[in-house]
């Protein structure tokens, strides 16, 4: 599937948008997609189930849209991405910052179906 800049509504579920294809993702790493004007960082960890995670691309500690360009891994059992700016770790499951308890990034619901990646539009 070749994606252009248009975002299509998935007819099956009006609460979701089709973001991109699995081919656009990079195993063991992240990319960024636009979802209704929001920057969403998408991570593909093929060894996990679920394998695709989506959080906000904005690093609130570093103050720039960079989280999709961080290294993914796990710290104490938590699946995380390390921001490339100042290496803060954010949970891919609930968005909390491991170094700063009160800081969170948004988490988005994603689903992979037939090689396509869908994201639930936040309310």
């Amino acid at each position: 599937m070749n994606m252009k800049s248009k975002i299509e509504r998935n007819p099956k579920d009006l609460g979701e948008v089709l973001l991109c294809t699995l081919d656009d993702l990079i195993p063991g790493s992240g990319v960024c997609a636009l979802c209704e004007g929001r920057q969403v960082a998408l991570f593909w960890l093929p060894e996990l189930d679920p394998a695709v995670y989506a959080i906000g691309n904005y690093d609130p500690m570093g103050g720039a849209n960079v989280l999709s360009r961080g290294i993914v891994g796990d710290i104490g059992g938590e699946v995380v991405v390390a921001s490339p700016l100042y290496k803060h770790h954010y949970s891919l499951r609930d968005g909390h910052c491991l170094e700063e308890d009160s800081v969170f990034v948004p988490v988005y619901e994603v689903r992979v179906s037939d090689g396509a990646v869908y994201c639930k539009v936040p309310g």
Binding site: V66, R69, G70, I71, G73
Partner: protein, 850 residues
């Protein structure tokens, strides 16, 4: 301080504490008391119009700092802490009976407890002519303002007084560009802290910096000069012309207020206090330089803080006494390291003295040892204070000295005794900035803080000047070992191996991917510590393209996108300019590209050109143009060889003895792309004048008449280290062979993110061992090291060239996988003719908008 103070609970009514004086000590007291909470209402009166500031670093005002940089607090901060503060309002009288203080604005403040922290004033000797407009003192920010104003009319300046403060002042005057002289009454400068020889060493060093020193000079009068504003007339009939005089001949306690209120005053001035810091009136305390304890005025800030600690504690249940303070000190005067501990002059009866003097390196060290040779009484250090912390521990804790005490101050030849942290008593102060004892660290560990980071956080140890970091670590390691917690060098939670062990595993087992290594030797998914480290190991061993699908997830963003991420998420681009040599045509290419993409350009310290502000999606187009014009990646983003700087060498320079540019280009091209535990920097100088600064590099080369001298393990930056001379008069071939071996040995054995300087310091056996491995092939691995380097050199590829030729790889260089938009939060404004990232308030686009 980490003590817990509890407030007397039975008296719940408000206690009014009035603090007179807002210098460093008065501020420390008010801040600490307010921080306790409790029933205290703290009011502060400051005679100066400014809130408390750092007087110790006053001279930096002439070296570019602004008064606000020295501020210790602000009116707002006091307000937030519930402290009522009045600045520019001095206390003028105390009615002790009514417990009321009247101020210069004729206002009255009632107190339950009064704390006098009025400080001191500079002593101006009664010399005729000392009242001239161009005769000033050095104590406050306002004094510096006056000095600066008078300095406009001055070319030459004299400081009267060669003590600690006088030399600080001389530094300030020198920073103003004045021809600076120091006049000292005694036979040597810093006579209190240094012995005669140490004083001579210091004098020689500061004279080399252009400050003239005149000792044994008693100034009798100050008269107008013939060609200068003033002339100092000395008792020995000589004279010294000057335009400006600053007195720094000692301090006197500011005790007028206390004197007039009838408090007991010492015979030579100063408010007499007991070990509770209480004056002769039990409701009045005195702290800092206005106080005299046991007949002594403490003119340093640290004892003042200890007095404040004691005085604060008197208002709580947990009273601590002030029992005098150690006057040992370590500082930098005009850039010269000076240290003085305890009995510096060896006045104790029967004391035995050991000295080390090196006139070439300008280093002087002396220790004074008790008659039985067991205890350290005092020390003097000039030019090198690296032994200070260790010596201070010996002196303060009465630790038994090694059999040959002189080994403590002799140059380290590998046999230097190290102070076992086990030998330190719990009362030993590890961190003098925050007064943290070994006991406090052990307590913190008992309470569960086991990592160095946690211990620093809860005790504040090693968060001031950081000078005690090594000592703290050894104490923590020893404590951990005692508790049976193995001190491990595991790289992270995913691998129970050090970097060196992982390197060995990958090499021996011929492991080529991260998943394979993780599967066989690790657990979990990996993290941002182990992934880049393993990525680097694999690159050093097999030198595959770093963006191969199986390696891409291992790389830091800089390696992933082959550029350096900046604070706003954009990247900078640095093409390789080997040896710093570039043709006009290539300069024009850089200019064209930078202009076309509107990039901010700046010259780097490594003799190349950095272009900032490239957006992710622009990187391939920028590099396509650069590669087509013959440029290669500069690896500025990688833990890899950065640059080999050079001076112009024998080709052009009148003094050059070898072609340093040619050698630099050869070396840079040989090692470019070499992945290593940390970045690598190098330089080649064409003669002994060393214009390329090779001795501050990981490997540096200096030309000689007969070939090349090789230096290793130098560093600039945060932790400078002078490189060690490794081998002399090498021919080209031998030079390269040694560097090949040296670099590969480092890559094999260093820890993650360990520069060569730290690596060498941690290498057992040090430089001699390194020489035996690299030169004498003691381990029999040199052939292998060379073969490995040959393999890396032979498989070099420019990563950017590979990347722009591969459409699959280029897919990564998109801001969004599903849109062509740019990141709306990347906003530039123009400054000095170029772009720079907009500050938050300058951004007009909102966070969510696209």
């Amino acid at each position: 301080m980490n003590e817990k103070l509890s407030v007397n609970a039975k008296d719940k009514k408000t206690i009014d504490v009035l603090v007179v004086g807002n210098g460093m000590v008065g501020h420390y007291y008010a801040d600490k008391l307010a921080g306790l909470g409790g029933p205290f209402r703290v009011t502060v009166l400051g005679a100066e119009t400014r809130p408390a500031y750092d007087r110790v670093h006053l001279s930096e005002l002439f070296a570019g700092k602004k008064p606000e940089d020295l501020a210790l607090t602000s009116a707002e901060e006091y307000e937030a802490k519930g402290i009522e503060a009045h600045f520019g309002e001095a206390a003028v009288s105390i009615d002790r009976e009514a417990q009321i203080v009247t101020t210069s604005k004729n206002r009255k403040f009632r107190y339950d407890k009064l704390v006098l922290a009025t400080g001191s004033y500079p002593f101006v000797p009664p010399i005729p002519g000392a009242d001239h407009q161009a005769c000033l003192v050095y104590r406050t920010i306002d004094d510096l303002g006056r000095i600066r104003a008078e300095a406009q009319f001055a070319r030459k300046a004299v400081v009267i007084g060669g003590g600690l403060l006088g030399l600080e002042c001389a530094n300030a005057l020198r920073n103003l560009g004045l021809d600076t002289h120091v006049v000292e009454f005694g036979p040597g400068i810093m006579g209190v802290q240094l012995d005669a020889r140490g004083s001579q060493f210091l004098q020689r060093m500061i004279e080399e910096l252009g400050v003239h020193v005149h000792t044994s000079k008693a100034t009798q009068k100050i008269v107008p000069g013939r060609d200068t504003r003033l002339s100092l007339q000395f008792a020995d009939k000589t004279s010294l012309d000057t335009d400006l005089v600053v007195f720094s001949a000692g301090i006197r306690p500011e005790d007028t207020l206390a004197r007039e209120a009838g408090l007991e005053i010492g015979p030579r001035g100063g408010i007499v206090i007991d070990y509770h810091c209480r004056t002769s009136d039990s409701n009045i305390y005195a702290i800092g330089e206005c106080a005299v304890f046991g007949g002594m005025v403490y003119g340093l800030v640290a004892p003042g803080y200890r007095m404040a600690d004691a005085a604060v504690s008197q208002l709580t249940e947990n009273k601590i006494p002030f029992q005098g303070a150690d006057m040992s000190t370590k500082l930098k005067l005009l850039g010269v390291e000076v240290g003085s501990i305890g009995d510096a002059h060896g006045k104790t009866e029967g004391s035995v003295c050991y000295q080390y003097a090196n006139e070439k390196k300008c280093i002087y060290k002396r220790i004074n040892v008790s008659a039985d040779g067991k205890k350290l009484l005092g020390a003097v250090l000039v030019g090198d204070t690296s032994d200070y912390d260790m010596l201070l521990q010996y002196a303060l804790n009465g630790l038994e000295l090694p059999e040959d005490p002189e080994t403590l101050i002799l140059p380290d030849t590998g046999n230097k005794p190290t102070l076992s942290s086990d030998a330190l008593p719990l009362s030993a102060t590890l961190c003098s900035c925050h007064n943290v004892t070994k006991g406090a660290v052990v307590t913190a560990m008992d309470e569960g803080a086991l990592s160095l980071g946690e211990i620093k956080k809860c005790t504040k140890a090693s968060t001031g000047c950081g000078g005690c970091a090594a000592l703290l670590k050894s104490v923590v390691d020893a404590e951990l070992a005692k508790r049976g917690v193995a001190v491990n060098n595991h790289i992270c939670e995913h691998f129970a191996y050090s970097r060196q062990e992982l390197f060995h595993i990958c090499k021996v087992e011929r492991i080529r991917t991260f998943p394979e290594l993780l599967h066989r030797y690790g657990k979990g998914l990996g993290c941002d510590i182990c992934k880049p480290a393993v990525g680097s190991i694999l690159a050093s061993l097999w030198n595959e393209y770093v963006l191969k699908t199986e390696h891409v997830g291992l790389q830091d963003t800089n390696d992933t996108f082959l550029a350096n991420m900046q604070k706003d998420g954009t990247y900078s681009v640095v093409p390789r300019i080997a040896g710093g040599e570039i043709t006009p045509d290539k300069l024009a290419v850089i200019a064209r590209v930078a202009k076309k993409y509107d990039l901010y350009t700046k010259l780097t310290g490594g003799q190349r050109i950095d272009m900032f502000g490239a957006r992710l999606h622009q990187l391939p187009a920028i590099w396509k143009e650069l590669v087509e014009a013959g440029f290669e990646t500069g690896h500025a983003y990688g833990k890899a060889l950065r640059t080999v700087k050079s001076c112009v060498g024998s080709t052009w320079c009148r003094y050059g003895v070898q072609d340093s540019v040619g050698m630099a280009i050869l070396l840079e091209n040989r090692y470019k792309g070499l992945r290593s535990p940390h970045k690598l920097k190098s330089a080649v100088s064409g003669c002994t004048r060393e214009c390329a600064e090779a001795q501050s590099k990981d490997f540096g080369v200096i030309a000689t008449e007969r070939g090349w001298n090789l230096y290793v393990c130098g560093n600039g930056g945060m932790r400078p280290r002078h490189a060690d001379l490794f081998a002399t008069d090498l021919d080209d071939e031998t030079l390269i062979r040694y560097i090949d071996r040296f670099l590969m040995f480092y890559i094999r054995t260093a820890d993650r993110l360990q520069r060569t300087s730290v690596w060498l310091e941690n290498l057992e056996g040090g430089l001699d061992y390194l020489k035996s491995v690299i030169i004498d092939d003691k381990l029999g691995i040199c052939a292998e090291l060379e073969a490995q380097m040959e393999a890396v050199v032979g498989t070099y590829q420019c990563e950017w060239k590979t990347t722009i030729e591969d459409p699959e790889r280029l897919k990564r260089f998109r801001q969004f996988v599903n849109a062509q938009d740019e990141d709306p939060q990347v906003v530039f404004v123009r400054e000095r003719g170029q772009i720079r990232p907009a500050r938050e308030e300058e951004k007009t686009v909102s966070e969510a908008g696209v």
